[in-house]
């Protein structure tokens, strides 16, 4: 994988936020990998695939896509949203399906998540990557769905 530089695209539109500010130690302490989060804009929308690849894990509130080189990206829609048991989340894909970057994966409503008492922030994690392999866009910046979120080299 040496010399490869992947672009990871934003699964949602919103404000880029440092992973350290995510209210869940698994993400804020980068226990499963480094990355960046997006504070999503409200209103019902589709979260899209951040890379080309195969869906290796699919839950209503989170999914993992592994690229053909094995590099996998986790997208988690909100914090502790597993407790919502899929309510308000509409899956457009199944486990094992191949997707292209930008393809809709899950429909959801960040406002509804917030109203239910959960933080709708979306951590986007480069699983098992080294921190220095990532070059994220600056925190505080506004991104649209499908804009570049970080590059991942190595």
């Amino acid at each position: 994988m040496t010399g490869v530089e992947r672009v990871v695209w934003s699964p949602v539109g919103g404000t880029v936020t440092a992973l350290a500010d995510v209210p869940d130690p698994v993400f804020s302490q980068a226990m499963v990998g480094p990355g960046i989060a997006v504070e999503p804009r409200g209103g019902r929308a589709d979260a899209v695939a951040p890379i080309d690849g195969t869906l290796t894990t699919v839950h209503a509130h989170a999914f993992v896509i592994a690229g053909d080189d094995g590099a996998a990206v986790l997208v988690h829609l909100g914090i502790d949203t597993v407790k919502q048991q899929g309510e308000g989340f509409t899956l457009h894909v199944v486990k094992g399906e191949r997707v292209r970057a930008g393809q809709p994966v899950v429909g959801w409503d960040p406002d509804a998540v917030r109203a239910a008492g959960y933080a709708p922030i979306v951590p986007v994690i480069a699983l098992d990557a080294q921190q220095e392999a990532l070059r994220p866009v600056d925190a505080g910046r506004t991104v649209e769905v499908g804009d570049e979120l970080f590059t991942w080299s190595g």
Partner: protein, 78 residues
């Protein structure tokens, strides 16, 4: 090897008799235990856990993206 890891994690959680419920959630095992105080954090980390979060009888073991598969392996041992 996955089975061995599941067994080690289960042992560190106090064994099958201590597990009320266990489920995989993307990167972590969410475990509801009879007694959260017997959890052996050092053994969990030796078994590959990145981190352990305890809140009474509910213990979350961060194991990475294979959490769902490990949870299934542990279910088979219960």
């Amino acid at each position: 090897m996955a089975d061995e890891r599941a067994g080690r994690i289960l042992a560190a959680l106090g064994g099958a008799g201590n597990v009320v419920e266990i489920e995989g959630c993307i990167t972590r095992l969410r475990c509801e235990l009879e007694d959260g105080s017997v959890v052996d954090e050092a053994a969990l980390k030796q078994a590959g856990a990145h981190g352990v979060m305890k809140a009474g009888s509910v213990v979350q073991v961060v194991v990475g993206p294979e959490a769902d598969a490990i949870a299934e392996d542990i279910q088979d041992l219960l």
